[in-house]
């Protein structure tokens, strides 16, 4: 199963109203594509939490979407201590927690990470896509 991990920059730009109209449309189409059987979308919990700080209503709307879409189509992976997370924190101490969580999920699933700030991940060993 192919899919994407959205970091907090992408989620805020697309869902919190702070990004461009193009970002909003692109994120919405990524989610439509997932619902229609395309690549899945994972929004790490810390990335969603940061977005909720900007737009609190995003929590309820995201929950409605996850609950109404197919199983595993759109997910919010929780933060847990794993060897991958430990390694990410050790090797990339400059990443803040939302970014570290997104990287850990991307590595664990071998899915590309989508962001609006690809330069934040320079030198980080994940496949990064610019939204």
């Amino acid at each position: 199963m192919s899919g994407y991990v959205l970091d907090h920059h992408a989620v805020i730009a697309g869902l919190a109203g702070t990004g461009s109209e193009h970002h909003r449309r692109e994120i919405s189409r990524l989610l439509v594509s997932a619902i229609d059987g395309g690549p899945t979308v994972a929004v790490p919990a810390l990335c969603l939490a940061v977005t909720a700080g900007v737009r609190p209503a995003v929590i309820g709307h995201m929950a409605d979407l996850i609950a109404s879409a197919g199983t595993g189509v759109i997910t919010v992976p929780g933060l847990e201590r794993t060897a991958t997370l430990d390694a990410v924190r050790e090797v990339y101490p400059g990443l803040d927690w939302p970014a570290a969580h997104a990287v850990a999920v991307a590595i664990a699933t071998a899915m590309p990470l989508i962001t609006t700030e690809p330069s934040d991940y320079t030198g980080v060993l994940v496949d990064v896509l610019d939204l």
């Binding site: 193009h22 189409r29 989610l31 995003v58 709307h61 896509l129």
Partner: protein, 103 residues
């Protein structure tokens, strides 16, 4: 005896999506641009997966990823088939990378 009932609200996913993202279709020109951007994104992800399957490398070597990102940026503004173009770019970049590392 008190009986309790559990009500499960069923929400149409597209309606939930509109609540989350706003109107899904409004401006045909902007919609086409976003659809094209997502199509290119899917193709770029497919090319990265092809690199992983072909070379066993995850993530893709930085030189290969850079070439794919450059080609993907160009594809957002034209009508070429993104999968065909990006797989070809990936194949050429991988060959170049392997030749460089073998030298």
């Amino acid at each position: 005896m008190v009986s309790a009932s559990l009500t499960v609200m069923t929400v149409d996913p597209r309606r939930a999506l509109e609540e989350l993202c706003g109107p899904l279709a409004a401006d045909p020109v902007a919609d086409r641009a976003a659809e094209r951007a997502v199509r290119v994104l899917h193709a770029q992800a497919a090319a990265l997966a092809w690199v992983r399957q072909t070379t066993g490398a995850y993530p893709a070597p930085s030189a290969v990823a850079r070439r794919l990102a450059e080609a993907a940026a160009q594809l957002r503004g034209d009508d070429r088939d993104p999968v065909t173009v990006l797989i070809a770019v990936a194949a050429a970049a991988v060959a170049e990378h392997q030749a460089t590392t073998a030298a």
